[in-house]
């Protein structure tokens, strides 16, 4: 399936990735991490990048976030701001919960009273307003990720990049965070590019699941996910489509035997 077919219709694209390659090192040691990847993300879309180890999905996020430069191709975010979340919440321990959420606002030059008000609103969004004055270490892993989400929202970004944000959490917490993320994505009208190696998670959350090959990373297939929201990770539709994608992923992984 061509990428262009699925994205040619309606709305503006927020992230345009065309034939992007990324090589690390040079000469004989050069490692091709991404090989001519093309991908368009539309405004308001929830796109999951899925692949086994070494498919360069995190690399792709770093490129979109501007943390690293591309080797060839075009990557255009139209000057839009991006926010990035990781597997670890990476909250700053010298700041309180609300201090962490306020920090991006502070860097944007928002005044003291205004940024406190805005940070409290964002904590309300992630249902943590009662924990504003706690220290990050006093919260559980799932709560910390919600603070990290509030902090990302405070960056006022057009695109939210998430790099396996729920990978280190237990299943129950992850389910809850799926629901929460879906709700916030809808309410805040976000565009999300979400990296995972968990097929069900990808199908649970995504409007599209982009399957990447490993070493080098290439787009193998673009699966549209049409099931109505809100979804459940254990629903038959989600499981069914996850099964289909898993088969495709296994075939790709088997290619790397020997």
């Amino acid at each position: 399936m061509s990428i262009l077919e699925t994205t040619s219709v309606r709305t503006e694209s927020v992230v345009r990735i065309e034939n992007v390659s990324k090589t690390y090192g040079s000469g004989g040691n050069a490692l091709l991490a991404l090989d001519r990847v093309s991908l368009d993300v539309q405004q308001g879309e929830f796109v999951c990048l899925l692949g086994a180890s070494g498919c360069g999905k995190s690399t792709l996020l770093s490129l979109v976030a501007g943390l690293d430069g591309i080797s060839s191709g075009t990557l255009d975010t139209g000057g839009r701001k991006v926010a990035l979340m990781f597997q670890e919440a990476a909250l700053f321990p010298w700041l309180s919960v609300i201090g962490n959420v306020e920090l991006p606002l502070r860097l944007q030059g928002v005044g003291k009273a205004e940024r406190r008000k805005r940070a409290l609103e964002l904590l309300e969004v992630v249902r943590l307003s009662g924990f504003a004055d706690k220290r990050p270490h006093e919260l559980s892993g799932g709560m910390r990720q919600r603070v990290a989400l509030a902090r990302a929202l405070a960056q006022n970004a057009d695109v939210l990049l998430m790099d396996e944000p729920f990978g280190a959490l237990d299943a129950m917490t992850r389910d809850i965070l799926h629901d929460e993320l879906e709700r916030i994505w809808r309410e805040q009208n976000l565009t999300v590019l979400f990296v995972t190696h968990n097929v069900r998670e990808a199908v649970r959350l995504g409007d599209r699941v982009i399957l990447l090959s490993s070493r080098p990373g290439r787009v193998i297939e673009d699966f549209p996910i049409k099931h109505p929201r809100p979804r459940r990770i254990d629903s038959p539709e989600v499981s069914g489509q996850a099964g289909e994608i898993t088969d495709r992923l296994r075939a790709e992984v088997a290619r790397h035997a020997n």
């Binding site: 086994a52 976030a65 943390l67 991006v82 926010a83 990035l84 990781f86 670890e88 990476a90 700053f92 321990p93 010298w94 920090l103 991006p104 502070r106 860097l107 249902r127 943590l128 009662g130 220290r135 990050p136 270490h137 006093e138 919260l139 559980s140 892993g141 799932g142 709560m143 960056q155 299943a171 129950m172 917490t173 389910d175 809850i176 629901d179 929460e180 709700r183 190696h197 968990n198 069900r200 049409k226 099931h227 109505p228 809100p230 979804r231 459940r232 254990d234 629903s235 038959p236 539709e237 499981s239 069914g240 489509q241 996850a242 099964g243 289909e244 898993t246 992923l249 296994r250 992984v253």
Partner: protein, 319 residues
Amino acid sequence: MPTEPPAPTKYAGARAGLEGLLAAETTGLGPEPQKIKTLTADEVSGLDALELAPKREKGRLGLRLWNSAWPKLLAIAIVVLAWELVYLAEWKPAYVFPSPTDVFATLKDLVTTVDFWDGVRLTMTRAITGFALAVAIGTVVGAAVSRFAPLRAAIGSLITGLQTMPSIMWFPLAILLFQLGEQAIMFVVVIGAAPSVANGLISGIDYVPRTWLRVGQVMGMKGFSRYRHLILPASLPSFVSGLKQGWAFSWRSLMAGELLVIVPGTISVGVRMQNARDLSDTPLVISYILVVLVIGILIDQLFNAADNALRKRWGLTGS
């Protein structure tokens, strides 16, 4: 192998559905979507409450103090007892090796004199001035070294070398440079303490976690604001360790200095101790040793308190 967790056995229906779908090799034609129930705010906050560790009962203040005090008191009692036994065994003549009672009587007389407190004040003023100077210089050097790679290549290992240098080695040079003056003592105190402070800051900056740096970069931190909001606070624990070590070095250098460099007209703790030795007043010499020990312990406690408060705030304590 895919890293996806195995299908939960709890949801037999979902599994059956999945198997049925796979067998038919179709998607989206499964059973009618079930009525979906999403989580309520209550469920989210319920899980939050369960996941938070219950608050630990700290116990009464008096009991906690006693629990930490009695082992120390017992240790002191054992040392004093051993001392008394050695004295009673007449290992050395009593005027060379006095009994604990003699020493404590001398110490008691000592701390009730105004002269003594003047000496302590002079010594502490020197200690604090020297340490403050060492912190200022160490911080500037540390920041510069961590910022500029060539500077690090040039003097990075020199700083570590200076740190291991016994401070007493500097005194002959210091006396030649500054004669028997305050500057000679300050010179040695600063050169003894500044490298530790610099190294603390350098390693703090070097070990700022990569993810934090990436978070900062995505937030758009650059130049000064990157230091102000990320690098400096992140390196604080290591910097505090450097300060603590720097203090220990400056205190040692100062005591060596006061014994070696007797500045005319100043009667510091070191000078008084030297006088007591000249008069063969062993109880007084031991009294000064105890005074210096106690001051050292008290200041160390201050640094520990600061360090613990920081660790607690950051959640670095194993609780």
